[in-house]
Assembly symmetry: C2
Homo-oligomer: 270 residues x 2
């Protein structure tokens, strides 16, 4: 999917919501547990219920890998079920030396035809480049994450850089390898004020913002500081949407939550 196609979808829907399919088998509604294909049934119902209110789905690969072969099968079937109009993200946080990253890129852009994959920056340029070489595909590099551990390394100030922190250098250096047409960044929502600063460093790139909802981020603040002239945001909600109810009404409850996000987002967009 191109940047313009993504922007068009956001404009059309009045939504920059990404629904995270972190489908934890332990958290499925009781009536589905133990059924064959419970995860796939759940995912399809969630997609049917939310697709009019979001522009993107993010599949957290860890929850599928941990189910073994069956999990990879369900990941492929879930991806195939997502409408072409929606921007699909493999949240896989891969990254290795060049010849190995090329294999990961093949996995998530060819074998499983996602639009985007998340990538960890620690190993540097040759670990990111193979992903960027695919036309009309997107590389979403970890910038500043929303978890407690982001303070261990991402926020360390660098020498001779006027107090610049590691994550800022990651944003700036990585920008040299790609363009706003094929590169996004993960920026957590737990400190929305950081977003204002990040927007001053990277005004044009799309940001994938997790941490709204279950992790406590505020959609209003994220939107205030994160939106740019092209929207430039994909705000992800996972548990807050897909596990909004643990009863038989889980799909309706997910729809209601997604719709609430959409209604709020349409205000911030206008």
């Amino acid at each position: 999917m191109t940047r313009q196609q993504l922007i068009d979808q956001i404009t059309k829907k009045g939504s920059y919501l990404c629904v995270g399919l972190d489908t934890d088998i332990e958290k499925l509604p009781a009536h589905l547990k133990g059924q064959p294909d419970a995860v796939l049934t759940f995912n399809k119902a969630i997609i049917d219920a939310t697709k009019d209110h979001c522009v993107s789905y993010k599949i957290n690969t860890a929850f599928y890998e941990s189910q073994g072969l069956k999990g990879w099968e369900i990941m492929a079937e879930t991806l195939a079920y997502i409408p072409d109009t929606h921007f699909t993200i493999a949240d896989a946080k891969r990254g290795d030396i060049g010849n190995t990253s090329a294999q990961y890129a093949k996995t998530f852009f060819e074998v499983l035809p996602f639009d985007a994959v998340t990538v960890a920056p620690y190993m540097g340029e040759d670990s990111v480049r193979p992903f960027l070489e695919y036309k009309d595909k997107w590389t979403i590099v970890l910038g500043l994450t929303s978890n407690a551990g982001s303070f261990n390394f991402q926020r360390l100030p660098l020498e001779h850089k006027n107090g610049k922190q590691l994550y800022e250098q990651v944003l700036q250096t990585t920008c040299e390898w790609g363009t706003p047409e094929n590169l996004m960044f993960v920026v957590g929502a737990t400190r929305a004020s950081d977003l204002e600063y990040i927007r001053s460093i990277i005004p044009d790139h799309f940001l994938l913002v997790p941490g709204v909802g279950a992790q406590g981020g505020s959609l209003e603040e994220v939107s205030k500081y994160g939106l740019n002239k092209d929207a430039g945001l994909l705000v992800n909600a996972s548990r807050a949407v897909i596990f909004a109810s643990s009863g038989e009404d889980y799909a309706a409850a997910a729809k209601k939550m997604a719709q609430e996000y959409q209604t709020e987002m349409s205000i911030y967009l206008s």
Copy 2:
């Protein structure tokens, strides 16, 4: 596998060689290409040929994931074929927020019963902890890698730390989360002199050293600076061993290479 069991294997064999099963389907010997189960046939022959000369096998998950479901099946079958005496590593470079890392730990310690998994440190403590919680399993955290991109971020000097570089901080901070009984580090071999310095920071931990062979590192230098009283090294060779020959004699050629490493290692150990 416990630390003592690993040390015993190294002592018994006079080898700290880890054979990397980066089985690139494009590089298989011509007579195997196109055969059903070519990768599995190849891996089994390599394991049979090298098992007396190495103490560990490292499966680079990227090369299996890129083959889709079939690849995951072959990864499982390869792992099952490796003798219990050998230390098995999933070179997967995973890492995410806590609930997601817990799923990855389940994948590589339970669903696929590896002894160890490689983990990327960028997201900090809660991304590493879930792996460390497994008894008699190992977490191998990226410290200083051997690729060109290691200069982008890993070697950046930090402020107010007397010139300490990011990777040094990663080694020191991560050491607080685990022990030499459940934590190792990836340290690349391309600049062996770095190893001397790294040994002064972490004298006790095992180091997994890639980059010997195809990537140009010297086994002599790595051993000189990296060995400690318990050996403390696993030196990985992938392409240099498994693709030593592209002909029908590939297994014999791999055995010869592994045996050469073992012979040299036994000298450094004594």
